[in-house]
Amino acid sequence: MHVSTESPTGERIASVENRLAAIESVLEDHAMHPAAFVDTFNQWATEEWLPENGARVVAKAWSEPDFRLRLLANGIAAIRELGLSMPAHHRHLVALENTATVHNVICCTLCSCTAFTVIGLPPDWYKDLEYRARVVRESRSVLREMGLELAPHIEIRVWDTTADTRYMVLPERPPGTEGWSQEQLTALVTKEGMIGVAKV
């Protein structure tokens, strides 16, 4: 995967695993207890920062018109109603509502910022060079290549996460789901739908 295992002067570059072990030992020296934190972090990543969080938000917004308005007005306050939160440096959550004529899609061209506590940690392709380079300039083609064909009359809005405001897409409620419970609706909503590269 790495282009070279040698430095420009021909010395051998340590493997990423060995480099990581070296820096972990430095944090251990400084009493940061890295091993314990890795376990905690892994638990957050696999059990808490899940797209099911955002899916519950979406299902509630589809089901309760008042909640939808509160979500669109102040995302962080609205997700707190479901017991969800964001890190202190994410001071603003903007829900972007897809309609019959507007489709929203989020990205981060400079790094890979996301509302990870709500929609889950970003998938590999979101952090990759291709998506970051192309989606702001060729959004319709990129979405088509990813399997989402949008009619020509639909306006695409691309949101580049260049500050600490975070975004989530509020997808359109699929037809034929009238009368469904919020639990049933939650199961339909995907991380891809909340990034805006797929419909629900």
Partner: protein
């Protein structure tokens, strides 16, 4: 900085390597890399702007060839060396080989002293600043005119915050640009929304 990381609008890349339900991590060391860089933030070794800037300072060939979590690891290690937690020699001794680190930081800059407050609907121009230090203005909006959609809560100014100099907080604005203005005759039609710090903006006259 006008670095390799500033990818928006760069050409030559192929299709997104996309699979539905794609994994976040591909190997256990990636989880550890993610955990450890956030642990150092929690302990105040550095802030997120310093972390991003150290990634941007990676040698460009290394930046492009490194995976996402190798970039995290490189930033973490570079900042630990720069902040004096360990020497590079000792780090490489423990790693058993060369440990590529970020290139040195340059001077940062403070907030613009005179900043204007904008409201939804205002036309603004992104200042034509060329900033060698950390900056959160993607190059594709430099000098461009857009329309203010909304204001976000204030954040520390990253151009200062990444350099350890006094960073006043300032609002960011959701600015809507038209892709066909950003890349005339060379973009697919779309609205492009960018979160832009107040210091990067000035009122656009005319139009």
């Amino acid at each position: 900085m006008n670095g390799m990381h500033d990818l928006g609008g760069k050409e030559g890349f192929g299709p997104v390597r996309y699979t539905p339900n794609a994994p976040v991590f591909h190997a256990p060391w990636e989880v550890r890399a993610n955990a450890l860089y956030s642990l150092a933030v929690k302990h105040g070794v550095y802030n997120m702007d310093e972390y991003r800037y150290a990634i941007e300072r990676m040698e460009p060939r290394h930046y492009l060839s490194a995976s996402y979590y190798e970039r995290s690891l490189t930033s973490l290690a570079s900042l630990c060396v720069e902040k004096g937690l360990v020497s590079r020699v000792e780090l490489e001794r423990r790693a058993g080989g060369v440990f590529p680190l970020a290139r040195p930081a340059v001077a940062g800059r403070a907030n613009q002293p005179e900043r204007e407050r904008f409201v939804a609907g205002d036309l603004v121009r992104v200042r034509s600043d060329h900033v060698s230090g950390h900056v959160r203005m993607p190059g594709y909006i430099r000098g461009q005119i857009g329309r203010v959609v909304s204001e976000s809560p204030p954040y520390p100014f990253p151009d200062a915050h990444a350099h350890g100099i006094d960073a006043q907080t300032e609002p960011t604005y959701d600015i809507q640009f038209d892709s066909v203005d950003l890349w005339p005759d060379a973009a697919e039609p779309a609205k492009v929304h960018v979160a832009v710090f107040q210091s990067y903006l000035e009122r656009a006259s005319g139009r």
